[in-house]
């Protein structure tokens, strides 16, 4: 695999993360606990669609087969998607959505902070833009996690259950496969080891302030770097890609 191929896959994966998470957040539209939160979650979904467009467009250029962001989003199948499993899980209740947003936005904050210094200037520029967005997502998720954790007995239980349920999907956020290692050694990809330490420290702090208990590190589910997903992804794609697949000749 050439460096170009590795970079293509790297961008594709980051683009898929943004796309699939935006899909889940957009499902909250007209479903949030209060109108103001409806607007907030939609804003995050919009930030993420924008990020997906940038990353998938760049991935398409790296691949060099003339595929656009839409081609990549709408014409790939389950096994060709590489987003992290955490992001494709169903929304669950509001606590689960906040727990996911917390885990992912803290991760993204440290990750894109590193990636800003990538030797690849396109990636560095996308990262610089993204850092600002995810910093806000992180603040929002942190505040809600604390409110729910330290709110009522019911909300405390729900929030605890949410972080417990999702914990096993956080492990693969820090994996480095062979291709990524090549990119990392060339100062193109971010170094996950340092990010993991920072992430863990910040999550511990927030969980503490939210009067919640850190989940135990037991089994961590992985698979997405080779396109092995949960059953949920297939349903996302069949819904998302329906028109493009049903009317392959049409442009919209």
């Amino acid at each position: 695999m050439t460096e170009q191929d590795a970079l293509y896959k790297y961008c594709l994966r980051l683009g898929d993360d943004a796309l699939i998470h935006s899909y889940r957040l957009s499902e909250w539209c007209s479903n949030a606990p209060i109108l103001e939160e409806d607007l907030a979650l939609t804003n995050f979904a919009l930030d993420m669609i924008g990020r997906a467009q940038l990353l998938l467009t760049y991935a398409g250029q790296l691949e060099g087969k003339g595929r656009t962001d839409d081609d990549l989003a709408y014409r790939r199948s389950e096994r060709e998607y590489f987003n992290h499993l955490l992001l494709e899980l169903p929304n669950g209740d509001f606590a689960h959505t906040i727990a996911r947003l917390l885990f992912s936005s803290v991760w993204e904050y440290y990750f894109f902070n590193e990636l800003q210094h990538s030797r690849d200037t396109t990636l560095a520029a996308i990262a610089a833009k993204t850092v600002k967005e995810v910093k806000y997502h992180m603040a929002h998720a942190t505040d809600w996690a604390i409110r729910l954790g330290d709110g009522t007995e019911e909300s405390n239980h729900r929030m605890q259950k949410a972080i417990d349920d999702l914990w096993m999907y956080t492990g693969e956020l820090f994996e480095t496969d062979e291709q990524t290692a090549i990119l990392r050694d060339k100062n193109i990809a971010a170094d996950m080891a340092m990010i993991k330490a920072k992430w863990r420290q910040e999550i511990e702090r927030i969980i503490g302030e939210a009067t919640l208990t850190m989940p135990k590190d037991e089994y961590m589910q992985t698979g997405s770097s080779t396109g092995i997903h949960t059953e949920y992804l297939g349903h996302i794609l069949s819904e998302m890609q329906y028109l493009q697949r049903a009317y392959p000749e049409a442009t919209w």
Binding site: E37, L39, D143, R147
Partner: protein
């Protein structure tokens, strides 16, 4: 506390560019200051309308009553000596 709550009401004031006056934009609901500020941001800056936001609990606003407008505001209408155009300047005087 009511059995269900749509949270407290806050008034939102926005500054459209650095140095400009803060202007009332509308209101939002939120349970605390941080949430009020974030909700104001997500509601009133969707099109990049602002550079700074104030939020104030709605019940902290004290407003004049429009029915008192005659006593509140009319007395200021005949104080023309507060305006620079009221004064007659000698011809030829500059920079005043």
């Amino acid at each position: 506390m009511a059995t269900d709550s749509q949270l407290m009401e806050w008034e939102v004031f926005m500054q459209s560019k650095p140095g400009a006056n803060y202007i009332h934009a509308g209101s939002v609901h939120a349970s605390d200051k941080k949430m009020a500020l974030q909700n104001a941001r997500d509601t009133y800056t969707r099109r990049g309308e602002g550079t700074s936001i104030w939020v104030v609990p709605s019940d902290a606003i004290v407003a004049s009553n429009p029915d008192d407008n005659d006593m509140f505001f009319d007395p200021a209408n005949d104080k023309v000596y507060r305006l620079p155009t009221y004064y007659v300047m000698p011809e030829g005087a500059k920079a005043i």
